[in-house]
């Protein structure tokens, strides 16, 4: 009996030696996704999915640091678009000893300090406000998303040479106000290109009076910065009045809600031009489509809920998911660079690493710049038949291929 036990003990010991570490033997590292799951489910879910997809890929081999192998585990917390809840969530992330937080951006002006104490890096993947990121004052805050500043200046750079007299309209949501400030700054030196500036009520269903006012100010183009509902309302007011003014927007113009609202009048969406972060690199659509394929096979297709004139269902390319995916991959690279799971060391290492992003672009931060999407990466796309393609009258956009958006 004693010999049998001895043999069993040796076999058990041998079984534990060598080979790859199984997931059960790995030490988990928590990545918290802080998003608006209840108030803006699509946004919250797409951020979560991007983070989960990256974590899954990282976990295929695990993260080997010294004699230990780690794996990433994603936990979600709902901000409900409330800054107070965002702050509470950040406290929970600290309690859970998160290695990083992927954040939509709500409440970040207050919550970053809570994460800064233990040095936890925060990756903002949606909000573009200028004050959010400051490598000096907020060394633990990073962003992979187009900035309001970059979007506004690219819009100005694109529109002013066209000789348009633009109406700068923004709604009174936080997003709209921040965008209004960015637009004012971008057009500051070219006031002659501005016909009128107006603040729109974000909750108004009818914006006909404000749109009429812009028309009477002889605006020959409208830049509308606000929630998707505001953009849809401006388009409705202008087109129903027979005013075929060109409309330009930030990325919110590509929000499925705009097309859903105007599904009965698809021609009203035609010509809508938005500025956004490029989805593809110059090498082509390959890297992004590969990412999209992985995303779809894991989480399914995100449908807009409208169809083209040919009857094909329109889908949403996983843009925001791509940013979350890239941030988690950068965190994994920073863990290896730091050789440590100390969040402060990971934050420091995030300034030193570059990875290939889901769209094939180089993605990374540095000590001077915590923006993962540089202003040069902002392109313009125009809608036709409920899908969009990069414009041809902008040097960057003209180099970009269209991303398929139908299934």
């Amino acid at each position: 009996m004693g010999r049998v036990l001895l043999v069993l003990a040796v076999l058990l010991a041998l079984a534990g030696c060598g080979g790859k570490s199984s997931p059960s033997q790995r030490t988990p590292l928590t990545i918290v996704v802080d998003g608006p799951f209840s108030r803006s489910p699509y946004l919250g879910r797409t951020i979560e999915n991007g983070a989960r997809l990256a974590a899954r890929e990282v976990n295929a081999n695990g993260i080997r640091l010294g004699s230990k192998t780690y794996e990433l585990r994603v936990r979600t917390l709902d901000t409900a678009l409330s800054p107070a809840r965002a702050v509470a969530n950040m406290r929970r992330a600290v309690e859970q000893e998160a290695i990083a937080v992927v954040d939509e951006g709500t409440g970040i002006d207050a919550s970053w300090r809570i994460a800064a104490k233990p040095g936890i890096p925060i990756g903002v993947v949606f909000e573009g406000g200028r004050q959010i990121v400051d490598p000096e004052a907020r060394p633990n805050v990073f962003r992979i998303a187009p900035t309001d500043h970059g979007l506004a200046f690219r819009l100005a750079e694109y529109l002013i040479p066209k000789g348009l007299k633009v109406g700068l309209l923004h709604d009174d949501s936080d997003y709209g106000v921040a965008g209004g400030q960015a637009l004012a700054s971008a057009f500051e030196r070219n006031r002659s290109s501005v016909a009128i500036e107006q603040t729109l009520p974000a909750d108004a269903l009818d914006l006909a009076p404000q749109v009429l006012r812009a028309r009477r100010a002889h605006a020959t183009g409208l830049v509308v910065w606000g929630r998707a509902s505001t953009i849809a309302s401006v388009l409705t007011a202008a087109r129903s009045a027979g005013w075929d003014v060109p409309v330009f927007t930030p990325p919110a113009g590509a929000d499925p809600f705009v097309r859903q609202q105007l599904a009965d009048h698809p021609q009203w969406v035609d010509g809508l031009t938005f500025a956004g972060g490029r989805l593809t690199a110059e090498i082509g659509t390959g890297p992004f489509l590969t990412f999209e394929q992985k995303y779809e096979s894991s989480f399914g297709v995100d449908r807009v809920g409208v169809k083209t004139s040919g009857g094909q269902a329109v889908i949403v390319p996983p843009e925001t998911a791509m940013y979350a995916y890239d941030f988690v991959n950068l965190v994994a690279a920073a863990l290896l660079k730091a050789g440590s799971t100390d969040p402060a060391k990971v934050t420091a290492a995030l300034n030193e690493v570059t990875t290939e992003g889901a769209n094939g672009d180089q993605r990374g931060f540095n000590h001077n710049n915590h923006e993962g999407v540089v202003d040069d990466d902002i392109y313009f796309a125009r809608f036709h038949d409920m899908t969009y393609t990069p414009v041809k009258d902008d040097p960057l956009s003209a180099t970009l291929p269209a991303v398929p958006q139908t299934r």
Partner: protein, 352 residues
Amino acid sequence: MTRLAAAAVAVPALVLSGAASAAPNADFVSLPSPLAQLSSSPPLAGGASANAEGLRHRVAARTNVVVSLGPDGAPLRVVATQRLDVRVKGDYFFPIGAPVSAVEAVPGSASPPGRRSTSILWAGFNPSRRTLVARAALRPGAVAPSLPLRVTPGPGVVALENTTGVTTSAFTADVLVAPLARYFAQLKRAIALGEVPTSGGALVTSKPVTTRIRVAAPLHVEGTIGARRVDLVLEGRRTIAGSGPVRLTVTPADPARLLDRPVAGLSGRRLLDRVARASLTLSRVRQYRTFLGNPDPTGPSSTTYVYRTAARPVAAAPAAGESSGRGWPLTLAIVLALLGALALSAFAWSRA
């Protein structure tokens, strides 16, 4: 195959067979390359790289390095300003290796540079032509060994030493003069036109023997030491009589001594030695013209080094909280005074 294509193939074949017929017993041996990297630095920190997604940007790089010298001639501060003239439309991602402690954009730069501990980072989209200009403070201790000149002030003199020298391998052998002379002429033409030189070979008629040679980039040194004007080409060490502030501009120069002297009448072995030295010296010059790397390996690069005497940086004032500003003698006096007052009070109370 068309006649034109057939002719295109036939010409190199004739050249090869011609060479072979001229030297039936000669072997082809590669010459030291004028593009060889003879030491790990410069360019600093591995040089520059480019990730441009399938396209290649044309980049001309111009760098100005200002070396502030302490009283003993040691570099106290090194600031490099690099201007990249980028052409060809498309995305760019250029890490420029350097031990950077701070970096900023210079007015006129199309975008701000990023900083990593070992590189300056440029990322963006070039619509057709872009100028990127960064001013970077470099860690003096890390870059000092890669600077081309050492300045050592002494009593009434200042020693200038070319520190670009390096010992490297070459070979000696008997060679056919004519083909080697042709390659040398081609090398000189490329240098005169500012083109990237190509590597060459020699037809050897004896067994090549490895040799070790020392090569250095000639430095054109111009400026002033105190009131004394300096204008010389420095290949080794020179002591200049004079004292006072140093302000010297140093530019790596082509090795005129090796390139311009006539080769007619030289034996094959002597010509080989000359060509090998010229080629290796050119590669050394090229290294020092690329103090900060150029993301376009075949793009033109130039570097000017400015050495100037500077006051030693003032040490940072201690933080207010670290010291009360009161010395220990004063503290001791206060404590003694307090103890004295306490004793007097106790005495007065006991008498009350």
